[in-house]
């Protein structure tokens, strides 16, 4: 089973469960049915956005500088630039 198939099947499962709850096919207390169920998709989107922001913030927080890789990269860029200019390709 490919990853896409797995994600799709989980998505279909969640969608059908929500659909059953939304259409009132499952007897739920009235408070929950009227106030909570309709807002769940929007809540999911907002929470997903917060999760992404958390992951971004965590990545920025724990990212450490790597000076040797920086030097190496600069050197490679210069070599590539010189090489391309020799061959006549315009470099910025």
């Amino acid at each position: 089973m490919t990853r896409a198939q797995q994600q799709l099947s989980i998505g279909v499962l969640l969608a059908s469960v929500y659909m059953a709850a939304f259409l009132g096919l499952v007897p739920l207390p009235e408070k929950i049915q009227n106030d909570v169920i309709p807002v769940l998709p929007l809540w999911a989107i907002v929470s997903f956005g917060c999760l992404l922001l958390c992951q971004l913030g965590w990545g920025v927080l724990t990212f450490n500088d790597v000076p040797e890789a920086h030097e190496e990269l600069m050197k490679e860029i210069q070599e590539a630039r010189a090489d391309l200019q020799k061959k006549g390709v315009e470099v910025d």
Partner: protein, 98 residues
């Protein structure tokens, strides 16, 4: 170098704190408040529930508009550059053929 690192740390921490706060506030607002009495003091921290729907929808639409406009500007600019380049090459080819 060190101050860049400190700045990075602050930005990352700020994003983390903001995301957590927004998540907790929105979860309480939409999922927990319906079960709380209307007389409870905590209700004073949250505006009316309608806004719990309006604000994210407005932000999503605004975000979509910004992303869409940025994309269109970049594509228009790139097409203009491509058209100018094609015209230039045509002109040179025409001159050489003469």
């Amino acid at each position: 170098m060190a101050i860049n690192k400190a700045l990075d740390r602050i930005v990352g921490l700020a994003m983390l704190v903001l995301a957590t706060t927004v998540f907790l506030y929105y979860t309480i607002w939409t999922l927990l408040l319906p079960f709380v009495d209307s007389k409870h003091p905590i209700q004073s921290f949250f505006p009316a529930p309608v806004w719990a729907i309006r604000i994210p929808v407005i932000l999503l639409l605004l975000g979509g508009a910004v992303v869409g406009s940025f994309l269109s500007v970049v594509m228009i600019r790139s097409n203009r550059k491509k058209a100018a380049k094609a015209r230039r090459i045509q002109a040179e080819a025409g001159k050489k053929g003469r």
